[in-house]
């Protein structure tokens, strides 16, 4: 058993420093260690055992164990193993050795841990705030259990402006965002530019942090959360809800019925389809090729319609509950889905051919935004960005979930490590997704859609789940808790890691390549659509109903 093998390797090296190890199944390994050796163990796992860094989690465990908890998650992709290294910290002034020196990819996660939980990463090279605004009081950490979910602390200065670093000598600062036509979500890059070349940048984001994790830990219950998890992202919502329920299922040791697993797979792949189609369109738009942008959106639309037929919604499917799904794919829907896929495949083949042979797009994207294998490893980059650098990594194959171990598909890679390769990877992945859905429709067994869970989910258990979102691995970490809700739920979206690679990707590039480089990691844009019109003269507001909007939008069909 691979988990046991890895554990014996660690034990041989670190001996008594390892206090406890749990192996709930063959694909999970939880190692509890002394905080003093945490850095050395992580360095060993990351460098010697060549694991991929996933995320670090800080948790306020004081009400339960009287201590703080820190966890570093790693993935052994070739061995199908997810591993978490945990250590308890003192309740007063929690401190832990920073691992970002040996695992650079942990930089953000540790800064976030410092902001939200108040665990000080000792020896971190850049301890600026990441999530909290500068006006937030120093000693209030929102994810601590003694802070209420809706608390606005005394001394919070809403209008305080960010303090920025000094740009290097000879560079001018070009502000990019928070509002920029190609950046649909508030994030602020201060680019240090010399002539037309970008020499470096500072990132300030988290301007729309919604405190979703805190809400889940304090207000919602296990089956409320999937619905909110879905709203983490406007594009890969289903991914987050599946990842969440899977992590709870993983912690509780339950497995949904096979039919539910197939339904999840189909919806996840539908989501990948519309996301890839959207992204290829947007990438074309960013480099000024609007015709292809319009065409991919036209081709994408039927995918949204069939998703709406299956789930009742174009997006935010409301699909998952712990232990199953809420929607079925009836034979009629299956037949219609097949038709949609046939048409999509033919049309996308034409687009893929057009793009792959287009010298103009190629010229604009080749050699741009390089993220090579070293950067992928050091910054923990995931998804198409990693695959475009020749790193064969795909959670669907490496950490199979839902029905992915019962379907055949290829992991598409490219070698260029640039934007062009990312375009290539995502163009081709569309065909794999179509293929997967077809196999699912064919193999889907009859049966129930969800388990009836009679017993309460035991508390204090840890669950991990990695789901391959269209833009990379979404990783969820859950500690189960009391009152029918988790104690700690940590979401790591793929962009969290990929954004950390952007400064290295844009360094010494042309300013003009900034947008497409940033676009190439497909930063996660969240938004909620609702239309309200206000009559200027009378001031009367009118909220458009679903059917009115429907008629407005689809008049020409």
């Amino acid at each position: 058993m691979i988990a046991r093998e890895k554990l014996s390797l660690l034990k041989a090296k670190f001996g008594d420093a390892i206090q406890r190890a749990d192996m709930p199944d063959e694909n999970r390994l939880f190692v509890f260690v002394e905080a003093t050796v945490l850095k050395r163990i992580c360095a060993y796992i990351f460098a010697e055992m060549d694991a991929r860094y996933v995320i670090s989690i800080g948790a306020d465990d004081r009400p339960f164990s009287g201590q703080f908890l820190v966890a570093h998650d790693f993935a052994f992709d070739h061995d199908h193993l997810l591993c978490s290294v945990l250590a308890y910290l003192a309740a007063e002034n929690p401190k832990v050795d920073s691992i970002s020196e040996v695992v650079p990819a942990a930089s953000w996660a540790e800064r976030e841990m410092r902001d939200l939980v108040g665990i000080e990463p000792v020896g971190h090279g850049y301890l600026k705030r990441l999530v909290l605004p500068d006006g937030w009081p120093k000693d209030v950490h929102p994810l601590r259990k003694d802070v209420l979910w809706n608390e606005v602390p005394e001394g919070f200065d809403e209008n305080r402006e960010f303090t920025f670093d000094e740009p290097p000598e000879g560079c001018t600062v070009v502000p990019f965002g928070p509002f920029h036509p190609t950046l649909d979500e508030p994030a602020h890059f201060r680019l240090y530019v010399e002539g037309e070349r970008v020499r470096g940048c500072e990132y300030r984001g988290f301007m729309a942090h919604r405190g979703i994790e805190k809400l889940a830990e304090s207000v919602l219950n296990y089956n409320d959360i999937p619905v909110m998890a879905e709203r983490i992202c406007g594009i890969c919502g289903c991914v987050h809800s599946v990842a969440y329920v899977q992590s709870v299922e993983n912690a509780a040791g339950i497995r949904p019925p096979p039919r539910a697993e197939y339904v999840r797979t189909v919806l996840l792949e539908l989501e990948r389809l519309h996301s890839h189609l959207l992204w290829v369109g947007l990438a074309c738009h960013v480099v000024g090729f609007d015709t292809l942008f319009m065409q991919s959106f036209r081709i994408r639309e039927p995918v949204m319609w069939i998703a709406e037929k299956i789930t009742g919604n174009r997006k935010t499917y409301g699909l998952c509950v712990v232990g199953g799904v809420r929607r079925d794919i009836t034979p009629e829907l299956g037949a219609e889905l097949r038709q949609v896929l046939d048409k999509l495949e033919a049309e996308w083949r034409a687009v893929a051919e057009a793009v792959l042979q287009d010298r103009n797009i190629r010229k604009r994207t080749e050699g741009v935004g390089i993220a090579n294998k070293t950067l992928v490893k050091q910054a923990g980059l995931v998804g198409p960005v990693a695959r475009a650098a020749g790193v064969e990594m795909d959670c669907r194959r490496d950490h199979p979930y839902a029905a992915y171990n019962r379907v055949q598909f290829d992991v598409i890679t490219a070698q260029g490590a640039d934007v062009w390769s990312r375009v290539e990877v995502r163009l081709r992945e569309v065909f794999e997704s179509i293929n997967i859905i077809r196999q699912c429709l064919q193999k889907m067994p009859d049966g129930s859609l969800k388990l009836e869970i009679r017993n309460e989910i035991p508390s204090g258990r840890i669950g991990l789940s990695s789901v391959e979102a269209p833009r990379g691995e979404s990783h969820h970490f859950v500690i189960t808790g009391e009152n029918n809700r988790p104690r700690r739920w940590r979401v790591r979206a793929p962009t969290y890691q990929n954004l950390q690679g952007v400064p290295a990707m844009i360094k010494d590039q042309q300013l003009a390549d900034m947008t497409i480089t940033l676009g190439s990691i497909d930063p996660c844009f969240s938004c909620t659509d609702r239309l309200e019109t206000i009559e200027l003269k009378s001031g009367a507001a009118k909220v458009w109903s679903h059917s009115e909007l429907f008629n407005l939008v689809r008049r020409s069909r």
């Binding site: 600062v173 190609t182 960013v286 090729f289 015709t291 042309q510 300013l511 003009a512 947008t515």
Partner: protein, 306 residues
């Protein structure tokens, strides 16, 4: 009489450009929409757009509002003056007022108005746009200058009515230089009318309209109008220089011929714009440099009578 005729002619040309430019823009947008499987805006939409912009509040903004206003006036005025120097189905009305070199200067002035607009805005993005515009200008201007010079050499005169009448084909032998220049101008025409793949200085997705970013309301309308008019005027110059066929036929056939050729050019521009991605400034400059080398070769050919 002698004085009035050019005056009326100039007004007629300017009026014609003002009247038709939005229509061409509308056709361009409609065509683009068809390429993109969209319904597209109504043909007359650009007229309404302009009217709407003209009716909006005139806001002063940017570093230097006076320069900003001046730049907007300058850009439209320059294009309209050029319209009077170019035959629009008839002989150019202001024939006697200048020669081919004036035309080249006017083209420069067009670029200068964009530079002023960007400098007046004073934002980082518009400044980047300005630097790109400047680089493009430096590379593009010699191309047009050489095209006009080739015509002037063949015609043996800088007079407008002689240069702008297919003069490039006037060589005794097979007009090699003309053929080469025709190709060069075709390859660079997108840049002259600031369309994809060469709309680098105001790339929306990178620079948020670059030099124009501080413009709104009536001043923006003037700039937009100037851009629409530019497409017509440049097409006119192109047709007059390189595709004079039929211009000596009787009215109205020659007139119809001229506009048919302009229409073909607009369709071509749309087609290229709809099927290309935007170049980066360094890629564009390399491209222009290549064209420039070819153009110089054409100039040498022309001076040896080919």
């Amino acid at each position: 009489m002698n004085l009035l005729q050019p005056l009326f002619g100039a007004l007629a040309n300017a009026g014609l450009v003002l009247l038709l430019a939005p229509l061409f823009q509308g056709a361009l947008r409609k065509l683009t929409a068809i390429f993109q499987s969209r319904q597209g805006p109504p043909l007359l939409q650009p007229y309404f757009d302009l009217l709407k912009l003209l009716g909006k509040e005139d806001i002063e903004s940017g570093e230097s509002p006076v320069v900003q206003r001046f730049a907007a006036y300058l850009s439209l005025a320059t294009v309209l003056t050029m319209a009077a120097l170019v035959p629009m189905g008839f002989a150019a009305p202001l024939n006697g007022a200048g020669d081919a070199i004036l035309l080249i200067y006017m083209l420069t002035l067009c670029g200068v108005s964009t530079l002023l607009a960007g400098l007046a805005a004073g934002s980082t993005y518009s400044l980047v746009g300005v630097s790109r515009e400047m680089m493009t200008m430096i590379a593009l201007e010699p191309l047009l200058a050489i095209a006009v010079f080739v015509g002037a050499i063949q015609a043996g005169s800088f007079r407008l009515e002689r240069v702008l009448n297919g003069s490039v084909y006037a060589a005794g032998n097979f007009p090699w230089s003309a053929v080469v220049m025709l190709a060069v101008m075709l390859f660079s025409f997108q840049a002259f009318v600031q369309k994809v793949p060469f709309d680098i200085s105001e790339a929306e997705t990178e620079l948020m309209e670059g030099p124009l970013m501080e413009y709104s309301g009536p001043k923006l309308a003037l700039f937009k109008y100037a851009q629409m008019a530019k497409l017509m005027v440049y097409s006119g110059i192109f047709v007059a220089l390189f595709a004079p066929w039929g211009s000596d036929l009787a009215f109205p056939i020659n007139w119809l011929f001229f506009w048919a050729k302009v229409c073909v050019l607009v369709v071509l521009v749309t087609l290229i714009a709809a099927t290309h991605a935007r170049y980066r400034i360094d890629q564009a400059l390399r491209y222009f440099a290549g064209l420039l080398a070819v153009a110089f070769a054409a100039l040498i050919l022309a001076s040896y009578g080919h």
